[in-house]
Amino acid sequence: MGKVSLQIDGQPVTVEAGTSILDAAAQVGIKIPTLCYLEEINKVGACRICVVEVEGEKDLVAACNTPAEDGMVVHTNTPAVRASRRTTLELILSDHPAECLTCVRNGNCELQALASQLNVRTVRFGGATHAGLPRDDSTPALVRDPRKCILCGRCVSVCNNIQAVGAIELQGLGFEAFIGPPANLELAATSCVQCGQCALVCPTAAIAEKDDIDKVWAALADPQKHVVVQTAPATRVTVGEEFGLTPGTPVTGKMVAAFRRLGFDAVFDTNFAADLTIMEEGSELIERVKNGGVLPQFTSCCPGWIKYVEHFYPAFLPHISSCKSPQQMFGAVAKTYYAQKIGIDPADIFVVSVMPCTAKKFEAERPEMNAASTYWNNPRIHRDVDAVLTSRELVRMIKQAGIDFADLPPDEYDKPLGVSTGAAAIFGATGGVLEAALRTAYELLTGKTLEKVDFHEVRGLKGVKEAVVPVNGTELKVMVVHGLNNARYAMEKLKAGALKDYHFIEVMCCPGGCIGGGGQPIPTDTPVRHRRIEGIYQVDAAMKYRKSHENPAIKELYEEFLEKPLGHKSHTLLHTQYTPRG
């Protein structure tokens, strides 16, 4: 492509043809304000906040989706531009509840920040509002508050174009236009996979995670309860962001210390269960390969992905590993093995998960996730996992408790469910589950030590990654996809019979894997995802053990309780079945 030269606010700039005025301006240090715009996701020019004057044009143009042209003369800060932006913002605010002080996005709301940036201190307009619209809290994971929706369309774009789900859409005309599920359905009645990517991109609090903090405070205050917490692999490189640390900074020790101060009785690690997952899922793969089972085998760690297959590709559910996710394996083990080991009534154990993901809330409430109750034949035990907090909720709890997180001295996880390996740590990044499985499968199949444990071919943010790994005379063909639109690509290939020679496919619902999960700190964009992934591999490299089957606590678990991978107890506690949802 050629280059074009233009002038923006008197400054000459040369950019690639096709570059937007917004990006061209950024190259000369001019930050044009935006609201609906979201790089790589939403460039519809709907909100009109980014309007600029272009000499020769009768009207203002949106900088986000107007390409720079040769000879263009652009003005970004004229009285007309300022007045237009201000009026646009005032119009939005005239139909937006003034609940900033009690809003979950207070201090992290793009609308609030824009009002400050544009120096809007009053709203001149009044009139009809959408204040009467009801909240939709029909799902266990997400809450929709249409009163706060500014119709920027980001959620619709991400749900349709990145996640290929299409659970919500822009409906109605004029002032009556709104965003929501079709036919006025509740979100729970749609094919929404509850991944929370909509909440991650929402500039306000029109879609947010369902807050379970009070449930956890109540358990912590109950002297009868033995409250344990598990922390997902991806949370340790993101929570620090909310306390001023660079994205991707590992804060594992600080998190553990914070949990102790919050009053948890035991602080454990989902990474322990991730190692357990590799033992079970790796064994399942080996069994499928050796015995002519259904291949390729797809990973099953991600609840958003599971729900997606249940809705959109139910005929292919036999391809999904029967292993529960690490979160659910942990819950089942905590209320059986751990309860037995320390001599506590499992009904008194309250398991809290801290997850990067909103879909984990849905997963914990799936009817079949009560293995401990079945195992002990005790209905008092209820769920395997009692409460799920997202990274954002954990941050709010820490802030509420007045803990100076940044200055906390690091602490260590409790044993035995806090012992883990580097293989488990990389579950948080796209390609991590597959890499961890390869580290173990190679050694189990060959009986040789894997010297080079880093599989760089399956790392990074490329949407679809493939590799061929020679293992004991067999060429193990693997694929990694992240983001459900890429998952759809893989499933369509599977449907067309083009994946017959593949053995193992990792799917993560969210772009970048769990480090980009719907419950992670906001903002989560591509540069932030890159830094978080770097942080994940730092954690891996620093671990004493880097292969799941080397985890001494896992060995102990099998010796003392489970006996062997895919054994009877494993099937009862660690494996599950799926629900075709059509």
């Binding site: 709907a46 009109r48 307009f125 009139g127 500014i150 822009l170």
Partner: protein, 182 residues
Amino acid sequence: MMGVSSGVLPQVPPEASVAGTAALLGIETPVLCCIKGVDRAGTDRAGVVAVVHPLQEKADVSYRGLLLVNWVLRELVRRCGNQDVFSVEVLRHFLELVQEASCGRCIPCRLGTRRMLEYVSGLVRGTAVRFSPDELAAMARFVGVSSRCDLGRIAGKLVANTVCCYRRAFERYPVQEAALGF
């Protein structure tokens, strides 16, 4: 002539060359994105309803279309006879039509034309507060230059022009003293 508060357009003489256009501008017309392919000589066929949806990514405003709509509105007002009443009534119906056709994506069109409609409706009902034609014109100009597609741009420019041409009509309506709202 219908009453001001009835909210119904007055009858237009059937022989009027603008009648066809008036029908096309009527409330039952579901979509009005832009008007094209019309010239002043063919007024009985004027006002062909647009086929270009407001969702189009980028649309240069059709100034020919704007001129036509503007002319239609002024012609309706002129033929009605009672300009003081009718200009505001026509504007109200026009803004209702714009609201019904607006895709709802862009703020100036969705909320700007809605607020203008509320001002004008308030004026007609006698519930307008602190109304000022200058403020309405300012809002209209904003909508006219900032909207995403022809619908909002034409609507804004047309309202601004109508306020300019028939300012006296707007000023004849009683306005309450309360200081809330626009």
